[in-house]
Symmetry: C2
Subunit: 434 residues, 2 copies
């Protein structure tokens, strides 16, 4: 056997091993799902509280693992923003533990009667909330997501198969050990929350195959490339969390005292979150009045502006925007600016370039607001408020694993309740159908 | 060019033409979806009423087209049950028109506020029902489904792309002409409801590709082979309507006066519908008392029984059941019978062999009923009533396009409301996020 064919054989072996490992995780996950489905709310709460406690007691090990991830990341030349998302310190780790405590405190969604009614024949029908089963999460290299995703799955009675970005694997494994402690403390098996223990990308392919039907739902989080690949290849249902290409439209009827702070907050409160505004649309009919003060506030806050020709004619301090700018999620202190012909022009721009995440209108004319809320078919449509409110915490859902940009099952912020399904319970006293 | 390569070139041409045709249907459907999304409830109601009127006024043409389908089907040697489902007569056609009238009368699901709340900062959040967009239905050769699917889509504000079984194409096209009349009468474009006008199976592949993102949801109806293929290959979300492998478990605590009519009704009321009982499970602890009278009633009603060894020891009139019988959707007057060890044995059998559609328990012991309703994770779980109630009409939903057996988005009977999604409307008075 040549060295080359030995190498290929070894690669085949590794591929086989990954597939076998993933198939076993699928079988385990079904057992975990069964245990969670039959566990009481109290047991699941105890597990999440135990996870929080174990994150605190394992702080040294987690921070040490994270230091290794960060060192490797620096050596690999990861961008500064990515290194920042990767890094933990005692404060951030306590934030992870506190987030677990918060999920433990979310009202349990299971067994809730969503609707019930009695038919004329006396048959009673109830729609009762139940877990989905096994949820596979594929996410970026952020240590907190491992804990957030696991706890939301346990809160909603679902077994989790977690696959973190490879840059974060050591941190995620150390956090996962704490999650297992929490499950054990509540008498739940480790199969309730599993993590892919290797960086091998073949694991993603295995998850997309559905693991022989073991996976009920795949939740991809991250860049458009990942989400699009998952949607194209997955043989299980997908709850996609796509990028946020979010707009604010300022209508001629807008009150400038609302518009300026809303645009400033929408763009600059936190530029790296998905609901951050990336494009400002201004009504041509009042652009001369509205744009200069808004642009001034943004420029003073350190925001780079890239405008179309009409915008630059009003505010020459803007760089020119190219077609590429309308489809770019900057996640940075950059805002593209277009002048549009009224609410119809704004709707057309958003439908053409938006990602269906969060779009906002600022205005006082009720007909304009109505046209906007009807015409824009995004998960979250905001009127006269900052689009930065578009997340689970601000909606009152507690924690979330992201903002779903698809239309099926769940849309907008995805918290514990959005990770459930339901079944119908039909109760009678011997009724038969004619 | 050889005859063979000319043939291949012609096939390629045909394939290209189908792909081009389907791509054009996708573009049209998006325009139709936009028209429906902005149309009022009254307009959509008028369209459905217009469809009913046109089905009546076009009765002769529809019946003539159907006669051609039936003649071709007889010549092709279609099975009698399939020919029966294919055939129309004036009475059945009036049934289709009446079903359209009923869908027109369903309360409009759109713009309903599903939930609303005000956050401490005064921001008001409402979850409002909206259409999904473009729904592609792939279904069997039944003329009524073309009208049912189209009207439910229009009621829920979705554009429809319909693909019927080829045996029914002439009938479906004749009915579709009536549906277009209805749309035109209400001022809606024909792009709201399109039908694939050719029998070419390549059309199914094109639909599964998602038509360049034009399709928001694929709804397959029919055999397990079709539904499984759609789930495996679709590049758009799927709402699967799988077969019904439905069980009734009769517990030792059962009241025989309820059990016998429920089993008889569950199996024999109508044997060709998906919620028909295919397997009877009887508690070993009371099988000697319960099984003989139930079996007697079934045999007298003309039902063939196939039992496991324990069941045949009690009722020797049964044929032996093979492993195949536990996974066979007979849709005929045949029932498989197994003796199980209490409710745990029943749950284990159902989880192993069931299709997650509808499963029932008959018993008086509250602990058993609770164990069954928790342990059986099917879309519809029935207690002490006939599982034949498991359909949209009996649930009070009005018309339905089927019973969904997946867990995402919708489960159980799928009517107009289940074909909607929602968006969040967030309204403020200038609030920004801290």
């Amino acid at each position: 056997m040549s060295a080359h064919s030995r190498e290929i054989a070894a690669m085949d072996d590794a591929a086989l091993n990954i597939d076998a490992l993933m198939a076993e995780m699928g079988v385990n996950a079904r057992a975990g799902a069964e245990a969670l489905r039959l566990a009481s709310a109290e047991t699941r709460t105890a597990a999440i509280r135990g996870m929080a406690a174990a994150v605190r007691s394992r702080a040294d090990a987690i921070l040490a693992a994270n230091a290794e991830d960060c060192a490797a990341g620096r050596q690999a030349g990861l961008p500064a923003a990515m290194l920042d998302r990767l890094a933990l310190d005692p404060g951030r780790l306590e934030g992870i533990a506190r987030a677990l405590d918060e999920v433990a405190a979310i009202p349990d969604p299971l067994d809730t009667v969503i609707a019930e009614w009695t038919r004329p024949n006396g048959v009673h029908i109830a729609r009762v909330r139940t877990p989905i089963g096994v949820i596979a999460m594929i996410y970026e290299s952020r240590p907190n997501v491992t804990a957030d995703a696991a706890s939301l799955c346990v809160r909603s009675g679902n077994a989790a198969i977690l696959r973190t970005g490879s840059e974060c694997l050591r941190s995620a494994l150390a956090i996962h050990a704490a999650l297992e402690d929490g499950l054990a403390a509540a008498g739940l098996p480790a199969s309730c929350v599993q993590i892919v223990p290797v960086a091998d990308r073949a694991a993603v392919g295995a998850i997309l195959s559905g693991l022989n039907g073991a996976i009920d739902l795949i939740v991809p989080r991250g860049g458009k490339g990942l989400v699009d690949r998952v949607k194209a290849e997955a043989r299980a249902p997908v709850l996609g969390h796509n990028e946020g290409l979010c707009h604010i439209y300022v209508d001629a009827s807008a009150d400038l005292a609302k518009a300026t702070p809303i645009v400033l907050n929408g763009k600059m409160r936190r530029v790296t979150v998905c609901q951050t505004t990336e494009t400002l649309l201004v009504d041509r009919a009042a652009a001369e009045r509205l744009l200069p003060p808004i642009a001034k506030a943004l420029l003073e806050a350190g925001c780079e502006l890239r405008g179309d020709a009409a915008a630059r004619a009003i505010v020459p301090a803007m760089a020119p925007a190219s077609e590429e700018d309308w489809v770019t999620e900057y996640l940075a202190a950059i805002l593209s600016v277009a002048i549009v012909d009224g609410v119809a022009g704004a709707i057309a721009h958003i439908r053409r370039y938006g990602s269906g995440h969060t779009d906002a209108v600022v205005g006082e004319d009720a007909a304009v607001l109505d046209a906007f809320t009807r015409g824009v078919d995004s998960a979250v449509v905001v009127v006269n408020a900052s689009p930065q409110f578009s997340d689970g915490g601000e909606f009152g859902f507690g924690a979330e694993i992201g903002v779903a940009t698809d239309k099926l099952h769940a849309r907008g912020p995805v918290g514990a309740e959005q990770l459930t399904t339901f079944k119908y319970l039909v109760r009678g006293a011997g009724q038969t159908r004619a």
